[in-house]
Symmetry: C2
Subunit: 356 residues, 2 copies
């Protein structure tokens, strides 16, 4: 690959001039400018990002840290981030933490030696990024947290309005007539889980309902978690008539458990998930869900990083994206009649009532 020196020779100018033409850092008269540009075209020269980064103390790399790209929620975030990054001439280095804070730290430390312009991070469990973020900021990199916040986070962030999303979903169920609501939250040390639970509780309180503690279960954010906790919920007396699952994976597990118990969703029990993944459209029944735009989360995060990058001193920003309740087939009014012990399917019960 040609280097700048060669371009300078070809164009018959000095190194500095080539640099100025390339970066627009100084005025260069047309004839010279053109000669430089020609030389660049002829050779297909592209400046070494390494040398440039070394000199400028900054690269056009953005470091992106996510728990696990295999979790179907995260690819959207990554894609949104990559698109905005690419549009602005930045590249994304992607790292998975598996929600392991140690691994997160390893990545954080290692990545800094590439002098990225920014760091977009979906914090791992029990993450505390204060020190690292400080270090990045000191080196001139913007740090933005996405989706959930580490403890004591005081920097820029982009999240969905988890509380309002959960509130709306819960209210919707209540409006349908549900009174015995259950919620399966994600891990409660995560701020998004906390906020969704808050939204749920607020809706419940506002409706003057009481929810016994057993009706709020904490699960891991996956199908297995949703399945296990739903099994528990379905054994409670009286059985809940609706479940707010705090993400779609949990909702999927809930649906499996419901089916396995020979209950019918939505006749016996309504389910609303959270995230609005594509998979909610292909289940039977189709899952209702609080949709949030993972893409936008990532896109806004990078935009925020770029803004921060341009203006280090402006006040911290905390972008909160709207959610949208998508009601599909998994929601219905609560069963009209029920046996006292709360077992059996609503359909059967309805039949029993007719006979009686």
């Amino acid at each position: 690959m040609a280097n700048m020196k060669r371009i300078a020779e070809l164009a018959g100018v000095s190194l500095g001039t080539v640099s100025h033409v390339l970066n627009g850092t100084a005025r260069v008269r047309e004839p010279l400018r053109e000669r430089v540009l020609n030389a660049v075209h002829e050779t297909g020269y592209q400046p070494s990002q390494l040398a440039r980064g070394l000199r400028r103390d900054k690269t056009n790399i953005l470091a992106m840290i996510v728990p696990d790209i295999l979790n179907p929620f995260f690819p959207g975030v990554v894609r949104g981030a990559e698109d905005v990054a690419f549009a602005n001439g930045f590249r994304l280095v992607l790292c998975n933490t598996d929600n392991d804070h140690k691994k997160e730290l390893v990545h954080l430390n290692a990545l800094q030696t590439y002098l990225p312009s920014g760091l977009i991070v979906i914090p791992s469990d029990f993450s505390d990024l204060t020190a690292q973020a400080e270090s990045y900021r000191k080196s001139g990199a913007a740090v933005v947290c996405v989706d959930r916040l580490p403890r004591n986070w005081a920097g820029d962030s982009v999240t969905s309005d988890n509380a309002v999303g959960a509130f709306n979903a819960t209210s919707y169920l209540i409006d349908l007539g549900h009174r015995r609501l259950a919620v399966i939250t994600g891990p409660l040390h995560l701020t998004n889980s906390q906020d969704r639970l808050k939204g749920f509780k607020r809706a419940v309180r506002q409706a003057g309902l009481e929810i016994a503690p057993a009706y709020a279960q904490e699960a891991t954010f996956d199908r297995a978690g949703g399945y296990a906790k739903t099994k528990i919920l379905l054994r409670l007396l009286p059985r809940p008539t609706a479940i707010l699952a705090c993400n779609d994976m949990i909702a999927l597990g809930a649906l499996m458990a419901v089916r396995e118990e020979k209950l019918n969703c939505p006749d016996d029990i309504s389910i609303i998930g959270f995230d609005g993944l594509d998979v909610t459209e292909t289940t039977t029944p189709q899952l209702s869900s609080v949709y949030q735009s993972s893409y936008q989360l990532g896109a806004e995060a990078v935009q925020l990083a770029l803004d921060r990058f341009a203006d280090t001193s402006s006040p911290v920003r905390h972008i909160v994206l709207k959610t949208e309740l998508k009601i599909r087939e998994s929601v219905a009014p609560p069963p009209k009649l029920e046996s006292a012990n709360g077992t059996g399917s609503a359909k059967r019960l309805r039949l029993a009532a007719v006979r009686a």
Copy 2:
């Protein structure tokens, strides 16, 4: 951040010695060695990857190019790649092409200026990477193609055994008694689509069956494609009793179309997908699929790149991964009786037969 000079001062040695200790490039006696290591620990010094890359003409970055991380098949590949990369001290720069060869070229050109050690690429549509690959190889970077191959690809690659996978699935259907098989392929300019179609045809031929051209439809690799082509297939007379969908998204679309036509899967029509995505477990009926390990695809690709990297001259390798036919609920023997026009559900027909 401290630099090497500072470490040298702290340890009272020369720059060269620090470098040698850090890289093990020369023998350094214990006392000095220790002083250097201490200084490194105390300062938390980490060598600048930029300077190192600049000097070595190579970074520990791997460039990874995928069509679209939002396509649920690709995150697995990326994750597999990242894990192996990380384990070997490499980082992944992720780029999406949207299957646009132009965008692919832009990424390819831009990424080279970071002097990556390797390039892992899932080629876009109509990709021809010969020239770029050559350029990368010339700069000492390993290039590995994954999942599908560009035209005239002569380099290392990792793919699944698409032909055998499709052959097995098709044979399974034939063994169940199906005679009127249909296939919905992906875009036929993609080698994986071609291979799956070949496998299908081979199984058909081997069973002595004939498939009219209309029973082989080409679709985009998504739900919409599967849906549209299935609609067409369901209108054919006689109607096919089984569909091999060449990926799970197509299968999902097929399932939707079947349901919409008030047909029952698997009673009226069997469906087998390809890829074995998680989503196949959450549909009703659960989708049978030819499972391939996207994770392994990515992991092997990076391993191959690292190997190539260590030995530039060894012969080109072409890793082909096994697939596994996962039969779930979407497959059954063909309906026993059918009306001549091929409409109506098998169940109804069976009832009619009983009455007669």
